[in-house]
Structure formats: C-alpha cells, structure tokens
Symmetry: C2
Subunit: 386 residues, 2 copies
C-alpha cells in the first residue's frame, strides 16, 4: 500500500515536467508521436476493462486476451495503416477460421490416427501455399499481414479442433473479442487527433518541389560566387545535397504512405478520389530531378573550374534560367499544395520556352553550362508533364 502511494506521488511529481519539457523541446512531428503514444495507452486501458470489470469478464472470459493482442498489433501511427492492418486481420481471421473449421470437421470425420495425419497435412499445405503467396510482391505490399493472420488462425483452429469440442463457439468468441479490439482502435485512431497518411504524402510531395527549387538556387549561387569564397566551399553545399539525397531515397516511404492512404476514409478536399498513382508518378519525376541536381555536385566540387571571366560572362543568363526554373517548381508545388488547377500550358511552359530560346543564343559562347541547364530544363519539363 505504502509503496503504491509513493509510486503515485512520484508519478504526480515526475510526469508533468517530463511532458512539458518534451513539449518545449519538440516540434510538431514529436508532438504527434507523443499524442500517438497516449492514444495507444488509452486504447489498451479500454480493452483491459474486459478483464478488469467483472460483468464484462463474465461475458468474454479468457478470450479478452485477443482484444488486447489486436490493439497492440494493429494500432499504427497513421490512421490508414491501422485500418489496413485491422481489415487484414479481420479478413485473415475469418478466412483462416472458416477453412480451419472445415479442415477440423474433415479430420474429425476421419477419426483415430488419421485425424492427426489430416490435421498435419492440412497445416503443412495451407501454411506453405499461403507463405508462397505472401511473397508475391503485389500481395506482400497490401495483404502481407492478412496472409500471416490467415496462417495463424487456420493453424490454431485446426489443431484446437482435435481438443475442443466446440470449435465453432471458440472461433465465434475469439472473433467477437478481436472485433472489440478493432473497433476500439479504429474509434481512437480515426476520431482522436487522427494522423492521415494521405495528408503526409500530399504535404511531402508538395514541399519537395520547394526543396528542389532551393537546392537549384544553392547550386547556382555556389557556382557563380565560387570565386569570392573558395575557402568555405567545403562547408557550404552539404545541406542542399542532403535534402536532394533524402528526396532520392523517398521511394519506399512514398509507396507505403500511398498504400495506407488508399485505406483511409473520406476526408480533405478530394474525399475518396485522391489520385495516389499520380502522386507516386510525380514523386518519381522529382527523384529524377533530384538525381540531376545531385550530379552537379561533381562539377561544383571539381578542382577544374572555368576562369572567372567566363563565369562572369554567363552569370546573367544562368541566373535568369535559374530563377525561371525555381519559379516554375514553386508554382507547381504551390498548386499541388493548395489543390488548385495549375495552368502550366499557358503560364509556365511559354516562359520556359522563351528562356530556352534565350539560352540557345548564349550557349554557342559557353557550352559548358548549357549542358547542365538543359538537363534541368528537361527534367522540370517532365515533372510538369505529370
């Protein structure tokens, strides 16, 4: 009793300062992580009531365990991920349970030693086939967890069939407690400070335009001003290229976000009709542009640089091209971010075209730079074409 009081007092003293210091230090992302942690805690306390409250426990009994397991396993950071895992778990459980019951009934009809043989054979066949199917890339992407639960449920039901008389009742009871866990998760995940994967993907794609524009500016600035601060060169460019690199490595993150986003219910301006495939295509083009910008690193860090006079001569057209490119990227990023139609055909493309003509006239004098600019021009054209 005493030690418990002490513990409670300790919590009352320690926890609020920890939370407040965390809140001070952390940015929005950390705040979201903190909220997610609280949400998981609350969901677990709610399903624990199935054990803690006598009237509830008398209804569900030891099967309450499955509700707790469901919450721990399916509660993910993004609402879409929770939904995806929950539905996968539900479908896997129902399919596995159903087929398990059939196999168990079949085994019981055989009886005797044949019973165990049928059970063993069905366990092997279903597990091997489901494991093989699980490894097919498209199924792995969306239904991996469901296939795992299918194997688990099938196996548990079919082997329990040997021991428990009432497989069906057992299956129904477990399913209902899993349902309780699922509902608790969905309720808390979707209604209490929900974190949407769709918003995350939308914002990340839109802000990548800005990051790339910023990187291009950085490269140009460094190239043009290289003469004035050659000594600091090593310290300067890193940050820009790091951003490019993180965009380059964004493919798997984008794909999993799009995968979760597909499961998310109606919200935001587009409701259920977000063009997730287009988002992924735009991401692909942005990665190509990031690769091009990253390849300029070699030029900028090379010891062989054109003489200052030549650099001065091409400074103006370079800056003009740079500003039109970054303007185009920002325009595109903003139109995605604010979900408004971007009249690229009438506003951006003519400007890019006229700039192209301008460079062509300069390029005969200074071919070195033109090549690079042509790259960027092409790539931003590609990004725009989406």
């Amino acid at each position: 009793m005493g030690s418990n009081d002490q513990k409670n007092r300790l919590q009352a003293v320690c926890v609020p300062p920890i939370i407040s210091s965390l809140r001070e230090k952390t940015n929005k992302q950390d705040m979201r992580k903190l909220i997610h942690s609280f949400k998981v805690g609350i969901a677990l306390v709610l399903v624990s009531f199935l054990y803690l409250l006598d009237p509830l426990f008398s209804q569900v009994g030891e099967n309450a365990m499955w509700a707790i397991m469901t919450v721990v396993v399916i509660f993910e950071f993004f609402a879409g991920a929770t939904l995806s895992k929950g539905l996968n778990r539900g479908i896997g459980t129902i399919l596995g349970g159903g087929l398990g019951c059939l196999a168990a009934a079949l085994a019981q009809e055989v009886g005797g030693i044949g019973n165990a043989i049928v059970v063993g054979a069905s366990v092997f066949i279903f597990a091997a086939v489901a494991t093989y199917v699980r490894q097919v890339p498209n199924i792995k992407k969306r239904y991996d967890y469901g296939a795992m639960i299918f194997i688990l449920t099938f196996n548990l039901v079919v082997v329990s069939g040997i021991r428990a008389e009432k497989v069906m009742r057992l299956a129904r009871e477990r399913l209902s407690t899993i349902g309780m866990g699922f509902v608790t998760c969905i309720f808390i995940s979707l209604l209490v400070f929900p974190v949407w994967a769709s918003d995350e993907l939308h914002d990340s794609i839109a802000s990548n335009f800005e990051h790339l524009a910023h990187s291009i500016e950085g490269c140009l600035e460094e190239y043009i001003n290289a003469t004035t601060f050659t000594n600091e060169k090593e310290n300067q460019p890193r940050a820009n290229f790091n951003r490019c690199k993180s965009i380059l490595n964004s493919k798997s993150k984008d794909e999993s976000l799009a995968n979760f986003a597909k499961w998310e219910p109606w919200h935001g301006k587009f409701g259920l009709y977000y063009p997730w495939i287009k988002y992924l295509q735009i991401g692909e083009h942005l990665r190509e542009l990031a690769a091009t910008i990253l390849s300029l690193k070699g030029c900028l860090q090379s010891q062989r640089q054109p003489p200052t006079a030549q650099r001065e001569r091409i400074k103006e057209p370079c800056e003009a091209v740079g500003s039109i490119l970054t303007w185009s990227l920002r325009e595109l990023g903003e139109s995605i971010s604010k979900m408004r139609k971007c009249h690229a055909g009438t506003s951006i493309v003519p400007k890019l075209k006229s700039t192209r003509v301008e460079i062509s006239s300069v390029s005969t004098n200074c071919k070195v730079d033109h090549q690079d600019i042509d790259h960027e021009y092409q790539d931003s054209g590609l990004a725009m074409a989406t």
Copy 2:
C-alpha cells in the same frame, strides 16, 4: 472419410505437377521462395505436434498455442531476420513478463478497487512510454518488434494477475512454449537451406558495380552511335536506366539487409567480422554514381545533339575514358565479390590519373563531353575511396 480420400488423391495428382511447373518457370530467386514456404510448413507441423501428440499436450496444455504463434510470427525469409525477431520476442517477453508480474503483485497488495486502478494506470503508463520509445528511429530499426511484444506481454500478464492466482506459473509456461517455437524456427531457418541476408547484401553490392559499368557502356554506345540509329532511340536506353533507378532506390533494402546481417552467426569468409557499415557506405557512393548516370538521360534524349563531325572527333577519347571507367568499376566489384584485396592505389588510380591528363588535352576542343566525363570520373573516384 470418402471426401478426405478424394482430397488426398487430388493432392497426390495436383501438387507435383504444380511444383515441377513452378520449378521449370522460375529462377533461383523463386526457388528460394518455394523452399522458404516448405520450411515454414515443416516448422508449423513440428510445433503442431504439441497439440497433436497426447504426451506432449499433457505437458504444455493450451499454452501450445504460443509456440504456434511464435513460429508464424517470427519465421522470416532471411535467417538473420528470423533470429532478430526471435531474440526481440524473447527479450520483449521476459522484460514485459517480469515487469508485469511486479505490477500485478503491487496491484494485489493494494487490493479492492485500488487493484483495478493500479492495473489500469500501469497499463497506460507502460504502453504510452514504450510506444513513444518505439518511434525513436534507431530503436525502431532494430527493436521495434521487441517493444511491441513488451507492451503485449506486460499488458496480458498484469491484467491476468487479477484473475489468475499463479501469474508466475502462467508466465513460465508461456515462456517455455515460446522458447519451443523459437528453437524450432531457428533450427529450421539456420540449418535447412539457410538464406543469409549477409550473402544477399554482399552479392547485391558487388553486382551493382557491374550493373553501373554496363549502364555507362550503354550510355556511351548510344551517344556515339546515335547518328546511325536515331529512329530506334526511344526503344534502346530504357533498360539501362531502369537498372540505375533500381540501384538508386536500394537504400532501404540495403539497410534492412545490413540490419539482419548483423544478427547472423559465423559464416562465410569474414565470419562475424563483415564490415557492414562499409558496405552501406559503398552502397551510398554507388547510388551517387547511379544518379550521375541517370542525369545523362536528359542529354541523350535531348533533341539538341552536337553535329556528327564533332561527335566523331571525340569518339576515341570518349571510348578510352569509358573503357577505363568500366574496367575500374568491374575490378572493384570483382574484388568485393571475391573478397580479395584490391590494390586500387597501385593498379586503378594511376590509370585513371593518366586518362584524366589525356582528356584534359582533348577537352579544350570539345568541352561539352568533358563535363559529363568529369562527373563520372569523380564519382568513380569517390566509390574507390571507400
């Protein structure tokens, strides 16, 4: 009985043709997937014996369920992944179970309604803290699964404490069946046709050198021969760049392989002392080189190409540089693949340097190409520096 016989006969007729046709169609990778599926099936049948055989069932009882669950959940494609998940599960279970017992004992001392309050509070606090810790990137990478199992076990033990008198016995029994599942998995995963993540990473890094060399050759060939088959241009280059793109997107795959590889026991030439961090660094440089090669796509597909005469003039030095670059890459890849010391300082670097001098003399005449070549040169130098 009859339907079962029929089913067995059906299996005897159908399964071998399926397997043999699969074997014909599929390459080595698919064969490995098939073997993995069989291994999972066998492991599950083995743990199912805990249910199926009376002497075993009388020992473990319903807790046999936990052995099945363990096998389904931790058996992964790579041996290292299975080990990592298994050890995570073990540590999570022990920690969660231990702390859960303590909390349950504390709650029982309080008694009455306070009991439920202490249980609820401890569930909330431990779940929230563990969920927050789980989201720290470094912990997420290696111990995410362990943290989840910790939350699950803690919660189950602490709420069961209210109902079951013998929490300790329950915990011990479950732990022992989880141990049986773990041993079964490890035995089959490590001893029956093991698939090592370390070999996979080693081979993939080594072969990426060859892929990049091949891509460079493709680019050069297309650039030099562009005049002879301009019409087929659209069909030609795709394949090369696709390989580059897959290298560009390899970061997350490489990292997870390295993560699994760290758990794998002694094997191969380096035993336990594979320098995984260096593998990841080399992968990083290869991705940079892939980005540079990918950026040439813009040049090759651009409508503005230098006149044929100019192209003819630079053909020879271009080919010379190309061949020294691809030779260097292949040399490096082979030395990694065969784990033999590569004397880059005495064999590769002097050749690259002398080529550099050669290009310098040509470059004043044809600046356009020099810029590109300089990139590649620099990047391959970087890759070599590792």
